[in-house]
């Protein structure tokens, strides 16, 4: 018994040593027979349970640390093949694994390695089962448990697997860097990564064969679907990372081509593997197969040409490998891969669309890519949703300036019309922006500035964006017209100009696909005008801005304004710009009249200079004569101007009356620009200021100290206005302010400054200051109109108690049809009512407006 015991222990020891050897990967084929005989021996001694237990234990332990490598798998596979196991056993094992696979793995990404590990396990299991066939059924459940546990272990190793996968992917990419199709090199690298120590020269064939075997095993085990999922995941992951790497944050170049190339490469690789598999097994084709490490050629394709000639283009792959018609599976796989590539790039681009559009003109290649991708995938709605979300989050916030929003809007229009010429998606994307911009007060002003500025300013200046939007639009327009008219031989520039003049903005909803020849891109101007609601508002705002600009001009140079006006006329039509044209004509006439008056005055003897020192001649005076009916309301402000100047003005007016007899000149004394030179004891300064500023300073000629009250009376303006304006001079160190008295600072010495800027000419745009515009702004005009409505609203609320917004709106529409008929939108009314509520004239409760008692 003792001997028996010791023998048993010995056998068990041998067995376990052997087994560990085997599991450790160092097993030799020659041991196989030994192993079988050992097992037989042990079985004959009734120690089956011990063996089984031990073996299973070993398997369990090995699961903790063994990560199977192709060589081991190969070896064990060799056994598996050698063993004459029955089909029943295989199917049993397959069933078990399939079941466990489904339970355990679920949606977990399975790498090839896991599968290989599984195969290996199955093989061991089969082999072992074979040697213990008699007891197999008894041990079934125990083995199942153990293997189940083992599988769970595998799952827990998933992280590691993932890492390995990444390594593989990385290695593959590196290989790609090595001139793409250097397959041998790649394989070698893969082998190293996998710590595979077989000879690299044999690597290709061996690996391919391995894969072939794996595939066959998997299929025979019924693992097809799981394996395919794993391949798909792996290859998509690979593709995705590649696309990301290629596309990245670079929008300046088109990456689609390179991605296509890469995709084709993968595709051709996949196809070759597939071909190989088909060749080996001539079985039902797998849909695809991914194995980053196997790019070797099977024997049939081992001709030297295949490696070198391996074409990147997929169609060449087909012709090369298909040697006939490519199978349906191949085509499907190809399409699927292509779709995935497009989709990945598209998703990447959509996520970054906001940035892309921010630097639009530079990023147009990215837009082109996106366009192609979208054409392929058709996921436009994804773009719209994602972009709107980005806009709301990043652009349409209180922090963004109206100008920025408008620029982004224009870029969006430009970018999206490339992607979607029909403008449908643009409409969807633009709506939130428009909605938001309507809520901003300075929108119109910004739009007008954007449209017109840059044309007049210095285009090369750092602040300006170069050309005005209008110029740009016009250029586009002319290009379009020219290209569309190229075929007409007799078309000259004049004709083109005529065509351009007859241009009318398309309605936004217009189907731009209509009419092949006149097919037009999405109309940017129309889109912008649609923010405001009507072009009249825009034109009105422009008129105010133009008036402001013209009134502040000291020369009569209006070339840039004329140009802008001509451009605007093209887009808005002659009639709506009529008033602006009259304004410009006024300026031209003024120039003529001005010269005329001066010429006639020169013929007459010069009137004796009023005051010797303040000699002023009409040469110093240039008048802008305006037809005030066509100008926006001009702010009138009483002002006493210095006597000599006043006399000069009336002289001028008299001359004007003589020349243009029925007409008389009415001076708007508060408007205009005065260039003056101030002579102090120690310095001379030149300024360009408003008449009011000039009047103020001129009062100090005779009297160096004034109280604000007296000064205000002398200048003829209210004290608060005076106080506001005089700060200009105080800031310039011309006065001291103290005890409500202003004293002229004769010398700068006392303020501790050296007069370095003696004689320098200071340009000042006083008119830019808040509330000092010479023309009543559109808001002011609107405000005036609204006071009428306020009376109506008060009237109706007095009599009806409370009213909801839309009822007020409707009532106004119905009954307020007087001189300024009620033409406001509901939003405008609401804004106005909010203002009234803020002024505590109204109350808003539960959506109803009340009069504040």
């Amino acid at each position: 018994m003792a001997a028996n015991y010791s023998e048993r222990i010995h056998i068990a020891g041998t067995h376990s040593a052997w087994q560990e050897n085997l599991l450790g990967g160092g097993g030799e084929l020659s041991l196989d027979s030994d192993f079988v005989s050992h097992v037989r021996n042990l079985c004959s001694r009734g120690l089956e349970s011990l063996i089984v237990e031990h073996f299973l234990c070993s398997v369990e332990v090995s699961a903790h640390f063994i990560f199977i490598y192709p060589s081991e798998r190969n070896q064990i596979d060799g056994w598996g093949v050698k063993e004459d196991y029955s089909a029943d056993e295989i199917s049993f094992a397959a069933g078990t694994f399939e079941k466990m696979g489904h339970q355990g793995f679920g949606s977990i990404l399975m790498s090839t390695e896991i599968l290989q590990f599984l195969i290996w396990k199955i093989n061991i299991f089969c082999m072992f089962g074979n040697s213990l066939s008699c007891n197999l059924l008894d041990q079934q459940s125990a083995m199942q448990d153990i293997l189940h546990k083992a599988l769970e272990e595998i799952i827990s190793e998933k992280q590691y697997q993932g890492k390995c996968l990444l390594m593989l992917v990385h290695a593959l990419e590196m290989c790609r860097g090595n001139d793409g199709m250097d397959l041998d090199c790649k394989t070698a690298e893969m082998d190293i990564d996998g710590a595979h120590h077989h000879k690299s020269t044999l690597g290709n064939n061996k690996l391919v064969r391995n894969i072939g075997v794996v595939v066959r095993d998997l299929r025979s085990l019924g693992f097809t679907s799981i394996a395919e999922d794993a391949y798909a995941s792996a290859i998509f992951l690979l593709l995705k990372s590649k696309v990301r790497e290629l596309a990245g944050d670079e929008f300046r170049f088109s990456v689609l081509e390179s991605i296509k190339g890469f995709k084709n490469e993968i595709a051709s690789t996949g196809l070759r593997i597939k071909d190989h598999v088909e060749y080996l097994h001539s079985a039902v084709p797998l849909q695809f197969l991914h194995a980053p490490c196997l790019l070797g050629e099977s024997k049939s394709y081992e001709s030297p040409s295949s490696g070198l000639k391996s074409p990147l283009a997929s169609h060449l792959s087909f012709t090369h490998y298909g040697t006939g018609i490519p199978s349906e599976g191949l085509v499907r796989w190809q399409l699927r891969l292509e779709y995935f590539a497009y989709e990945t790039l598209q998703d990447l681009r959509i996520a970054k669309l906001f940035e892309i559009i921010v630097d639009y003109p530079d990023s147009s290649p990215a837009i082109e890519d996106l366009k192609l991708c979208l054409e392929y995938t058709g996921q436009h709605s994804k773009l719209v949703d994602s972009f709107i979300a980005a806009l709301k989050y990043r652009l349409l916030t209180a922090g963004a300036s109206t100008n920025d929003i408008l620029h982004q809007y224009v870029s969006t229009i430009k970018a999206l019309r490339t992607i979607d010429p029909a403008g449908v998606f643009l409409e969807a994307v633009g709506e939130p922006i428009r909605e938001y911009l309507r809520g901003r007060k300075d929108t119109i002003k910004c739009i007008v500035t954007m449209l017109t500025d840059g044309a007049g300013g210095n285009p090369s200046g750092p602040g300006s964006t170069g050309d005005s939007l209008l110029e740009e639009l016009n250029r586009d327009e002319e290009n379009q017209e020219n290209s569309s008219l190229d075929d007409d031989a007799n078309t000259d520039d004049k004709q083109a100009w005529m065509n351009a003049q007859s241009w009318e903005p398309d309605p936004v909803e217009a189907d731009s696909l209509k009419g092949g020849r006149y097919r037009r891109k999405v109309d940017i101007l129309g889109m912008i005008v649609s923010i405001i609601g009507s072009k009249d508002h825009l034109v009105n705002e422009y008129r105010v801005m133009l008036a402001e600009k013209l009134l502040n001009k000291s020369d009569y140079d209006i070339d840039s304004e004329i140009r802008t006006l001509e451009l605007l006329k093209i887009h808005f039509g002659e009639s709506s710009m009529q008033k602006c044209e009259i304004m410009l004509n006024d300026l031209i006439d003024s120039k003529r009249t001005n010269t005329n008056i001066k010429a006639t005055l020169k013929l007459q003897p010069q009137p004796v200079a009023d005051v010797g020192e303040h000699e002023l001649s009409l040469d110093n005076l240039n008048a802008t004569i305006i037809s005030s009916n066509f100008w926006p309301p001009i702010q009138d402000e009483a002002l006493n101007i210095p006597g000599p100047v006043d006399r000069l003005l009336s002289d001028y007016a008299k001359r004007f009356n003589e020349i243009k007899t029925p007409r008389k000149l009415l001076w708007k004394k508060n408007l205009g620009t005065v260039k003056l030179e101030l002579q102090f004891e120690d310095r001379t300064l030149q300024f360009s200021v408003t008449p009011l500023h000039a009047s103020i300073i001129s009062q100090f000629e005779d009297q160096t100290s004034w109280t604000s009250k007296n000064l205000a009376a002398a200048v003829g303006v209210p004290v608060d206005v005076l106080n506001r304006r005089i700060y200009f001079w105080i800031n310039k160190n011309q006065y001291k302010s103290g005890d409500h008295k202003f004293t002229l600072v004769e010398a700068l010495v006392e303020s501790g400054k050296t007069p370095v800027n003696t004689g320098s000419y200071e340009e000042l745009l006083v008119g830019d200051e808040e509330g000092e515009t010479s023309v009543a702004s559109v808001e002011d005009q609107l405000r005036k109109e609204m006071t009428v409505y306020e009376k109506f609203i008060t009237g109706m609320l007095t009599n009806f108690g409370s009213m909801a917004l839309d009822r007020i709106h409707n009532t106004l529409k119905m009954f307020c049809i007087g001189d300024p008929p009620y033409d406001k939108s509901l939003q405008q009314l609401q804004g106005f009512l909010v203002g009234l509520v803020a002024e505590e004239k109204l109350e808003l409760r539960d959506g109803m407006y009340f009069l504040k008692k």
């Binding site: 109506f792 007095t798 009599n799 009806f800 009532t811 009954f815 007087g818």
Partner: protein, 182 residues
């Protein structure tokens, strides 16, 4: 009073005729079929004038969608017993306005010698003394001044008329009976 009113209307007819005669451009055809449009414009401009006049304490506005039916509001003038009270009126304009006076009623109960419990008003310019020169504004101003200066000689509300002499008591009565509409 209703009968009196009717009689007054009959009295009024010659008046309108004379006006029509005085204004020859208004053709007979136009008068027989008083074009809704002209009355419309008339009321419209009166509304505009009323709104722009900015008279304190009087206001009126057309109802919902009918320019012939107005709601009016009058507040009691200062230093009268009606100070601090607000009365709603209804004004119904006839289709031949302004040749006929509008029907004006108090919607808010008003304790006043010339206003009955139903809100009917006894005011000469709304009856026999009507002239097409009057407009909504003058009507409202007249009613507002009527509050402070009732004609106690021909009262509709005799209790009010008799109490008018005692202004303090009258004030208390006004306050007691005043039920402002929401």
């Amino acid at each position: 009073m209703a009968t009196v009113s009717n009689v007054n209307h009959q009295d009024n007819n010659p008046n309108t005729n004379t006006v029509a005669a005085a204004a020859p451009p208004v053709s007979l055809a136009k008068q027989t079929v008083p074009t809704a449009k002209t009355v419309d414009t008339q009321l419209q401009s009166e509304l505009m004038a009323l709104m722009m006049s900015g008279d304190a304490g009087i206001s009126a506005f057309p109802e919902e969608d009918n320019i012939f039916c107005w709601k009016g509001t009058i507040t009691g003038s200062k230093d009268t017993v009606f100070e601090g009270t607000e009365y709603k009126l209804s004004l119904a304009f006839p289709s031949d306005y302004p040749f006929k006076p509008p029907k004006v009623k108090f919607e808010t109960g008003c304790f006043h010698p010339n206003v009955d419990v139903y809100g009917n008003i006894c005011l000469d310019i709304l009856q026999d003394k009507w002239s097409s020169a009057y407009d909504v504004r003058t009507i409202l101003l007249s009613i507002q001044s009527l509050l402070g200066e009732p004609n106690t000689s021909s009262p509709l509300n005799t209790q009010a008329a008799s109490l008018w002499g005692n202004q303090e008591e009258y004030r208390k009565m006004v306050e007691k009976l005043y039920k402002p509409t929401a």
